[in-house]
Amino acid sequence: MAITVSTVDENPTDTAVAPRPGDPEITAELVADHGLSEDEYERIKTMMGRVPTYTELGVFSAMWSEHCGYKNSRRLLRLLPTEAPWVIQGPGENAGVIDVGDGYALAFKIESHNHPSAVEPYQGAATGVGGILRDIFTMGARPVAILDSLRFGDLTSGRVRYLFGGVVSGVGDYGNCMGIPNIGGEVVFDRGYEGNPIVNAMCLGLMKKEELITASASGEGNSLMTVGARTGRDGIHGATFASDELSEDADEASRPRVQVGDPFTEKLLLEASLELIASGAISGIQDMGAAGITSSASEMAGRGGSGVEIDMALVPVRESGMTPYEILLSESQERMLVVAEKGKESEVQRILEKWELEAEVIGHVTSDGRFRVMEGGVTVADIPALPLTEGCPTYERDGVESPEVIALRARNLSEYLLPRGNMTQTFLKLLGSPNIASKQWVYHQYDTTVRTATVVRPGGSSGVIRIRGTNRAVAATTDCNGRFVYLEPRQGAMIAMAEAARNLVCVGALPTAITNNLNFGNPLKPHIYHQFREAVLGMSDACTAFETPVTGGNVSFYNETDGKAIYPTPVIGMVGVIEDVSKITPSTFQAEGDDIVLLGENTDEMGGSEYLYVTARLVAGAPPQVTLLAERALQQSVLAMIGGRHLKSAHDCSQGGLACTLAECALGEGEEPRGASVSLSDDLPPVALLFAESQGRILVSCAPAETERVLAIAGEHGVAAKTIGTVGAVGGSFQISLPQGSINCPSTAMAEVFFGAIPAIMDAPATSGA
């Protein structure tokens, strides 16, 4: 990541600012309340050449929070590869941008809203979607797809059902109202997320390459204008809140820090912003997200190498009596900051007026490198801009692996490899686990077809959006198995990358780049820092091996409740390019009599599997090992098969193992559940053969006439491949026979379990006390 960390200003200028009447006195306690350490405070004083005012302290508190300052992650993130010939914009902007061909560019990014969603699930999730959308359209791109990556505790808890239901409505209502299709994501339930749900939203936007605009403030004398909604007292210190741990009683107290979303205003803001960018009246635009005006104005000045002067008395507010401190740190939603070319302010206002929105000049760009804030002409904050945005101290800490995790990983799992009871019943139990069961309950609440571009909807391997006017499409997926990362962070992160890439190639997309959402616990704890470092290293290796650079992302630390951290969860949002839409391949079986071919090899690696969690409530063992070169060969072989039109379907083999993957291929979206007849002969324990989550496997189907060619292509790529069965009739029976034992059930019974599991829990009449 191209970030220069400038340290203390060499020549602190004397810019005395008188304390504002009514401001509290700066005490050690007040500094601590603002989440700043003593060292950090000393650094601020040196940089300022004096004691900061209360307003300035608030500004530093936000900009040097973990959320904005990346102080515990920045150094390690520099290890990630960020460059490739197709990368137009790497990390550091509102969103990354890549070239997807035929003159089009794709802007994409993922962002978390974990803490707000834990406190107020509906608004927390809704504003998470709103924020990531603004990151995309402030690049000049029109948002064309949303994905959501969600994690909750076990659905047996009433509180978890409330969070899950609220988050899904929040994600849905915002995107639905904006008219942007949801094309995929993931939902995971595990006690590891009980107190601290994970809500990550990803957005893709398309633009012509020349429409790209960036978030920098340049051109002395150009005007800074707030655009969109008025500023209120909501979400003050949200960035600092996001950089803290949650506690049991945090809910009530923290609710005022959660913002409230208004997707209707955002829809108008979207249209107005794209029109503004096209008009040429503005030279920069940035979302007012975390830390509101503070971060947007100072970051634009920092990037532009300029300064800004803004007056809080000019900011349109929702209520009177707001202090500069409050206005600067408000996180009211649906607001943007734009830099209008001098003399074109009225044109900006005219465009905003058409969309029934406000735009007001609040200041201008300067050349003195200062972030200066006035209140009716009186200076209330005067801070050097670059040190403020880039001078946040960064730390590299000592990480130590937790002995508890070492012991869990070393756990001998052989007793769990013995079959327990009826194999078909165990299989159905897994299919009905909310982690494996169909997520239709979720995505049937999301508009997936608006904009008439969705070629592959949620439920497939990856979502696919065609690029109108071309023969191309883009595909996207989000993936991470937190259990694997918990048990062995480096492997786990590589697995997340490998799974994402497999999901893309299954629809026929070439993996191109990633955005990441690194959800972890408190980095000040050595074993959490260890998880973080290892995960970044694993991701880095996989990015290099797959030629998928990182173009941006988000770090979310302090995902802990009462001192207990979530599983480390580095969610990978990977995008890929499809050159010929006619080759897009579904994930489900298409025709009776087609051959089912398994690419890759089965193993007995049961560590971290859903089987262990469902049958023994256990998260233990070493996760399956992943070989990056083998994954790459597998990806290329599948792309070659799809390129030659040899396949009818392709599906990544992951959670629930081969048995559940076969079931998913057979069931599709449930309208025509098919049977299948499969025979496995590997010399492995039946439990492993059916349910191990070994890496490097993809299940494909093809017309029998193509099988020979499919096997040959696999061979040419050095990928193991064998025909393991035949696709059955709609409504037929589903059979897997093993050297010892078998699974045998009607596809209709399987469908009932797979599609009924989550509705049975969520739509059941509420029971008392839940």
């Binding site: 208004d262 205003t265 609440q445 904009r451 008439t452």
Partner: protein, 232 residues
């Protein structure tokens, strides 16, 4: 064939509808809700979306937009008006169609493909279909549960105003096939004059094999054919 696609703040299927009109050879124009004058257009289309955020009630605020006076006048003179999803809600709010669309019976937004039975093909919107034909078309709405008082329901059923109904793959109306609790499985209906159609499903999203279905094309080709017949 000139068609007006009326857009309100919060419309979000306007572009899809525009493209659908183009695909069948019509010449669409966007009309912003504050613009006036629909003379010279051969048909008026009200797109889906969340006009005014669906605040108050879906369609309730859009109905007060300046352009709606013109839409009402246009429809009253017999001009063809098609409202899809939010457009249907606005038409009900404006009194151009009877009844109301209330919260889905499941209380959740519903987005999926549904099956529709064409009840009549002797309308200007359905002449390309055969009566009884079953179509596969996406829905995406939170307030699509069609309700009317008993007298009104009897009147529209007797008058044959119901044009589309939710059905199962056998073509039968069943509770399971009804995605939102609409009375009598009503998915779309015309006014007494037959020149105003409102429907919750989105035919403009079912225009290409690549996207899963072409069953929606008929609504637009029917309209174009009827308009051409009128013109000649």
């Amino acid at each position: 064939m000139k068609v007006a696609v009326v857009t309100f703040p919060g419309s979000n299927c306007d572009y899809d509808l525009y493209k659908a009109a183009q695909q069948v050879g019509a010449e669409p124009t966007f009309i912003w809700h504050r613009e006036r004058g629909l003379d010279g257009y051969d048909a008026v289309l009200l797109p889906g979306g969340f006009s005014y955020g669906d605040y108050l009630r879906a369609g309730a605020i859009a109905r007060m937009s300046p352009v709606m006076e013109d839409v009402i006048a246009y429809a009253t003179k017999g001009g063809p008006v098609l409202g899809i999803c939010n457009g249907f809600q606005i038409l009900c709010e404006a009194g151009l169609l009877p009844g109301a669309l209330v919260r889905n019976s499941g209380l959740k937004f519903a987005s999926k493909d549904v099956l529709l039975r064409v009840e009549r093909n002797n309308t200007i919107f359905t002449s390309s279909y055969t009566a009884g034909q079953v179509l596969r078309i996406p829905i995406a709405h939170g307030e699509g549960n069609y309700e009317a008082d008993r007298e009104t329901l009897e009147r529209i059923e007797e008058g044959g105003q119901v044009v589309f109904r939710y059905v199962d793959s056998a073509g039968d109306t069943t509770d399971d096939a009804n995605p939102n609790g609409s009375w009598h499985g009503i998915a779309g209906l015309v006014n007494e004059g037959g020149n105003v159609l409102g429907m919750m499903p989105h035919p403009e999203r079912a225009m290409e094999d690549l996207l899963g279905s072409t069953d929606g094309i008929g609504v637009f080709t029917s309209l174009i054919a009827s308009l051409s017949a009128l013109a000649s």
